[in-house]
């Protein structure tokens, strides 16, 4: 089917370049053919609905009949909606604690596991398993262990004479409870960090030790720079997930309620607006705000990352 490569000849440059061009086109057609399922999916499930959301955000729409244009009314309403502000605050609160804490704890656990200890595989399994527990199940488990009157956590706290808080049932402690639930399931990033740590060349530590670097200095000047691209990847992914926090809050709302709207997160509010009140235009405006938010955060992170992310290949 395919001709053998035509040798390049200076004398026949015109036909040769035509051959090259047609080969290039054929290669491009082939490439596009293979990725065509994704291209179709991208157009149908991302591009079209994304722009349709943007369009709906300038309308009022209940899902039946035609959307009616209202200009920027949805957006200006958002700025005056105190529940929306609450949802935004709660989401920021959760993200601001969950992302740094889970990063530090995941790296810490990975460092622990990366040490030469016996039974490492058992510990790794133990730390990883919570992250595959179905989210509904883990949410139920956490409501139960943090149950104020009969929960095992408050019982253990009372053993050391601490009166446990109301956890998911209190305004002040509900979000910290969700953060703890998030920290319990950080097996995924932990395993990624562990793989990254195992990829750091041993010689680098040996050289650093020879130059008199202590364990903390080795961590600061060898380990962390070497795994910094992986840290960036994980931080971005966990930011995007935290901002869209939903399932746990939705499940736990049934038994615990949402004390003083303290667990009203962005997507919870979106879900209520879109699928319970059928304010589709208003919800679309919220969705677009979320997009802008994620965009800004990602750009800021990527821009500032050149200061702390170290890419090995660039140096060579």
């Amino acid at each position: 089917m395919r001709k053998l490569r035509t040798p390049r000849r200076a004398s026949a440059s015109a036909p040769a370049s035509r051959v090259r061009r047609s080969r290039r086109q054929r290669r491009m057609r082939l490439g596009l053919l293979f990725v065509s399922p994704w291209i179709l999916g991208f157009l149908a499930f991302y591009l079209y609905p994304f722009f349709a959301t943007l369009y709906y955000s300038f309308t009022t729409f209940t899902g039946v009949g035609n959307p009616r244009g209202v200009g920027f009314a949805n957006y200006s309403e958002l700025f005056h909606d105190s529940l929306f502000r609450t949802a935004l605050f709660n989401t920021f609160y959760y993200t601001a604690f969950e992302v740094p804490l889970s990063t530090v704890v995941a790296i810490g656990l990975a460092l622990l596991l990366n040490m030469n200890v016996r039974g490492r595989a058992i510990y790794r399994t133990l730390f990883y398993i919570p992250s595959i527990v179905p989210v509904v199940a883990s949410s139920l488990i956490f409501v139960w262990i943090f149950q104020p009157s009969f929960g095992v956590v408050n019982s253990l706290l009372s053993d050391v004479h601490i009166e446990g808080p109301e956890w998911f049932f209190s305004v002040a402690w509900s979000k910290p409870s969700f953060i703890l639930l998030g920290l319990w399931g950080l097996g995924q990033p932990m395993v990624i960090y562990l793989a990254a740590l195992q990829g750091v060349p041993r010689e680098m530590y040996e050289v650093a030790a020879l130059e008199g670097a202590g364990p903390l200095q080795r961590l600061r000047h060898v380990t962390l720079p070497m795994i910094s691209p992986v840290i960036l990847f994980n931080v971005i992914m966990s930011l995007v997930l935290s901002i869209q926090y939903f399932t746990q809050a939705q499940v736990i709302e049934t038994p615990a309620g949402s004390p003083g709207s303290s667990t009203m997160f962005f997507v919870i509010y979106y879900y209520q607006q879109a699928f319970q009140d059928l304010h589709l235009g208003y919800a679309s405006a919220m969705a677009f705000m979320l997009f802008i938010l994620v965009l800004i955060i990602t750009i800021v992170l990527l821009k500032t990352s050149s200061g702390w992310v170290y890419y090995e290949n660039e140096q060579q």
Partner: protein, 276 residues
């Protein structure tokens, strides 16, 4: 030498303490699931179930059509696994084994879609699915997987395909093999471990998926396990031993699956974390 032993003991103490914190919620779930209702309502808590109530499980599993929920979940998992295996392997092949203009640009576009919040596309898709009569069925969750919607799987397979020597493909091309032949007869058979990882992760994803069915499935009898589990809370919010029995029933299969496939798992996650 004693210092070394001391350091190693310290490591184990830290690891065991952390391990206990990770294990406690699961242990407490299983212990609670065997208790009587009155035993769950004591303070300070009673650790060991007495009497040991095995029939919390049959009771709770027959109180709702859990067999149905399991079946729905399995079908949902199976269909999307087929979709992901077909589409993600084709797309990953196009993004890794072939060189063509625009490849990297499109690949970055695909990665960028990971950052797009799902709510940014949800409402128009919902309206679209309503028009074609898909609401109430699993089609809105299944069909996209045939169109490369699982970026994670595509990325993972691409990373794996790139590690296969290009010379294998070149040799086959020399012999006149067409690209689809190379894809299906040479590259795919070599990528079995990566495919196993993709299947596993897709299975877990569907098993745990809550928000997808919450939005599109309205009829109780079509519920997957995740929604069924949420249902039990409404019914039995007072009896936590039953709630925990249901939670255990949903968790134990996935944990067993994990133990059977641990290597595939850990290697797979490590592969997604590598840049390239």
């Amino acid at each position: 030498m004693p210092r070394k032993i001391g350091a190693s003991a310290l490591k184990h103490i830290v690891l065991i303490a952390v391990g206990a914190m990770f294990a406690l919620p699961l242990a407490w779930m299983v212990l609670t699931s065997f208790k009587s209702a009155s035993q769950t309502l004591t303070f300070p808590v009673v650790w060991w179930p007495h009497p040991f109530l095995w029939n919390n499980y049959p009771h709770v599993l027959s109180s709702l059509p859990f067999g149905r929920f399991f079946l729905n979940t399995f079908v949902y998992c199976a269909v999307t696994i087929v979709g992901v295996c077909i589409s993600s392997s084709l797309v990953a092949y196009g993004f890794s084994r072939l060189r063509w203009r625009g490849r990297n640009g499109l690949f970055y576009v695909m990665l960028m879609t990971l950052l797009l919040p799902f709510v940014c596309t949800l409402i128009p898709l919902f309206i679209l699915y309503k028009h074609v009569g898909w609401i109430g069925t699993y089609l809105p969750l299944e069909v996209p997987t045939f169109f490369g919607s699982s970026v994670f799987s595509t990325f993972l397979l691409r990373q794996f395909f790139m590690t296969i020597p290009q010379s294998l493909s070149d040799a086959a091309r020399m012999d006149g093999a067409n690209e689809f032949y190379i894809f299906s007869r040479i590259v795919l058979p070599l990528a079995k471990p990566a495919m196993a990882t993709v299947i596993l992760f897709q299975f877990i994803y569907c098993w745990n998926d809550f928000i997808g069915p919450l939005i599109y499935i309205s009829n109780d009898s079509s519920y997957p396990l995740s929604l069924g589990l949420d249902l039990i809370l409404g019914d039995y919010s007072t009896n936590w031993s039953w709630v925990m029995a249901a939670a255990s029933a949903a968790t134990v299969p996935i944990v067993i699956l994990f133990f059977l496939t641990q290597r595939t798992f850990i290697q797979g996650i490590a592969l997604t974390g590598t840049k390239g």
